[in-house]
């Protein structure tokens, strides 16, 4: 909500320069605290590993032993099954990727434009428009009017825009970006360009944006994560299977698996595998497939995420 009480350049990181400290923790205390953190950190990652193990367990073993950490028989059947029914899965993957990419672009552009305008002292109505955005953080109409507007005024039901537009703008990000622009793009830099007769738009694209890449990247990262993990808008607006994103497919997985089972039984297109549908294993395999992109990219974006959290404050 606001800037922590540290200078903006300080980045929260656990790694600091090693300097001699006569009052370092005692060996025992250090060991205990390390263990505590290690246990908690492991518990945060463990469920994902557990899900991977379950997805690789033979369905008959699951039937007999439940979800165990060391299955008697390993099996790729769940993944083979998902491969056999890949069309819906790929479709959902494509929807999620499309929504994430499009949404992030729209969101960054709209937010950066708005935030830049209200960050400039030349803009006479900046106070009014700051309040116009800020007020939406204090008060909202609630879910029902939002839903009715989206379906009856904007006719978003069962369109891809239902997954993109509701999350495109966010007053909080606008205020963060505004502070960022105020800090990292001071007026003095822009003065000379103005004297040379460059238009405000040209200044924006050629000077301001290149200077603001860290801020823009932060908003883009938050936005990407938000879109990738969103299921709520799909829950409200999407029924068409062709538009169901990955997270939402996971919610409907029981129905989907059942539907696919019956369908393929009828058409007989997937022979062999159809005698036994690896139900729980297949579910967990889906979870793995949906989480993998995050888990793989996580070590790389984590640092930027942490930096981004302290990149700007809401207040001037």
């Amino acid at each position: 909500m606001l800037k922590p009480a540290v200078p903006s350049k300080k980045v929260p990181k656990a790694v600091k320069k090693k300097n001699y400290n006569p009052h370092q923790l005692g060996k025992k205390a250090n060991a205990i605290l390390n263990t505590m953190l290690a246990v908690f950190a492991f518990s945060c990652v463990f469920p994902f590993l557990y899900v991977i193990i379950i997805s690789l367990t033979d369905e008959s073993v699951l039937e007999k032993n439940g979800f165990s950490l060391l299955p008697e028989t390993w099996s790729f059947e769940a993944y083979q099954f998902l491969w056999a029914i890949k069309s819906q899965l790929l479709q959902s993957y494509m929807i999620t990727i499309a929504v994430t990419v499009l949404g992030t672009i729209i969101s960054v552009f709209t937010i950066a434009f708005y935030a830049y305008a209200i960050s400039r002292p030349q803009f006479k109505f900046r106070k009014q428009f700051t309040f116009f955005a800020f007020f939406t953080m204090l008060f909202n109409g609630g879910l029902v009017p939002f839903y009715i507007v989206a379906t009856q005024v904007l006719h978003l039901r069962d369109t891809i825009w239902a997954l993109i537009l509701p999350m495109a703008v966010n007053a909080f990000y606008i205020l963060i970006m505004r502070t960022f622009f105020q800090r990292s793009v001071p007026e003095s830099i822009l003065e000379s360009a103005r004297i040379d007769g460059a238009s405000e738009l040209r200044i924006y694209f050629q000077i301001v944006l290149p200077l603001s890449l860290p801020g823009l990247a932060t908003i883009a990262l938050f936005s990407t994560l938000g879109y990738w993990n969103d299921w709520f808008n799909a829950l409200l607006f999407i029924d068409n299977p062709a538009l169901v994103p990955l997270q939402s497919l996971l919610m409907k997985i029981e129905n989907t698996l059942e539907f696919i089972r019956q369908n393929t039984l009828l058409t007989g297109s997937v022979k062999g595998i159809m005698q036994s549908v690896p139900k729980d294993a297949a579910k967990m395999a889906m979870v793995v497939i949906a989480t993998l992109p995050i888990a793989v990219s996580y070590p790389f974006f984590q640092r930027y995420f942490i930096q981004g959290l302290t990149i700007g404050g809401v207040k001037e």
Partner: protein, 312 residues
């Protein structure tokens, strides 16, 4: 007349800026302000009209506070308000203690490489959706296959059908909220702690202060303003809850509603499964208005304590 002319001149002079805010303004009008206007539904008996939203709103009959009276005459209003506030109170208090403690420990342990590793692990759940997390929870709580029941059986204890017995859920929900949120919550505090001037600690060490004394008399007082502000802001949001936690993690199980139904899930179900448009709007408006008052009030208190930390 002159003023109107001046205004248009100003608009013309600021046209580039106005163009820049235009997409955002359109979005706010459609997705924020129009729904605000739509809350009048709460005072009407909403009927869908074929000519769209405005026709529906205008043609619906006024009923005054009837929807609210009906809402508060049921037990639901009390239950959802109680659940929302109690859960949030626990989340705020426990979340604060655990996040601050984690940040302090991360800052104190001697092996900074390991601290980095721990932080990476703890932050991971923040990036997972509640849908994914609900599957994680399912692997532990599934009645016939879950890890907990497996362990119980191994010890010769009875299986628990987790998803139909409400008494465990307050603990499960609190646990999951902390599990997902502590890594994230500790970042801001860690940033503040790392930013504390080292000189304070040097001076304390020369005076022979122990580690524990340093934490108590330097670290915690230095981050107290931040703690106060974040906590007050959270209290301002006490009427809102994380929909995913209360909807996805209990798998929308009906027998758990007494302990998992919060205002947000109530409004959602009212709209999507009951189709009670006006009543749900009323419940949503109740949430928004109380939330608004709380934010204003808490911000006022923050202003009184320390102006720099006020939101506005």
């Amino acid at each position: 007349m002159a003023r109107i002319k001046r205004f248009f001149q100003d608009v013309y002079k600021n046209k580039t800026w106005l163009l820049m805010v235009l997409p955002g303004v359109v979005w706010f009008l459609l997705f924020s302000y129009l729904p605000m206007f739509g809350t009048v539904i709460a005072f009407k008996n909403f009927q869908f009209h074929p000519d769209g939203f405005f026709a529906s709103v205008i043609n619906s009959e006024w009923v005054g506070f009837e929807n609210f009276e009906f809402l508060f005459s049921t037990d639901d209003a009390f239950i959802i308000t109680r659940n929302t506030i109690l859960y949030n109170l626990v989340f705020i208090i426990l979340g604060l203690i655990l996040a601050v403690a984690t940040a302090i420990i991360l800052n104190e342990i001697t092996n900074k490489k390991m601290a980095k590793v721990y932080q990476t692990g703890m932050l991971f759940p923040h990036f997972l959706s509640w849908v994914i997390v609900s599957y994680f929870v399912f692997t532990f709580l599934s009645v016939d296959r879950g890890m907990l029941n497996n362990i119980f059986q191994w010890f010769g204890m009875e299986k628990v059908s987790w998803y139909s017995e409400p008494e465990y859920w307050p603990f499960i929900l609190v646990f999951m909220s902390m599990w997902k949120g502590i890594g994230y919550g500790s970042i801001v505090y860690l940033a503040a702690i790392v930013g504390i001037d080292r000189n304070y600690y040097e001076a304390a060490m020369i005076d022979g202060a122990s580690k524990w004394q340093q934490i108590r008399h330097i670290t915690i007082p230095m981050i107290t303003p931040l703690i106060v502000i974040l906590t007050i802001l959270n209290i301002g949001k006490i009427f809102n809850s994380d929909f995913g936690l209360f909807y996805q993690v209990p798998l929308d199980s009906g027998s758990l509603y007494p302990v998992t139904n919060v205002i947000d899930t109530y409004v959602y179900r009212g709209l999507m499964t009951m189709g009670e448009v006006s009543m749900s709007t009323a419940a949503g408006l109740y949430q928004s208005v109380v939330g608004f008052i709380l934010v204003i009030l808490t911000n006022y208190i923050v202003t009184r304590i320390n102006k720099d930390y006020a939101l506005f």
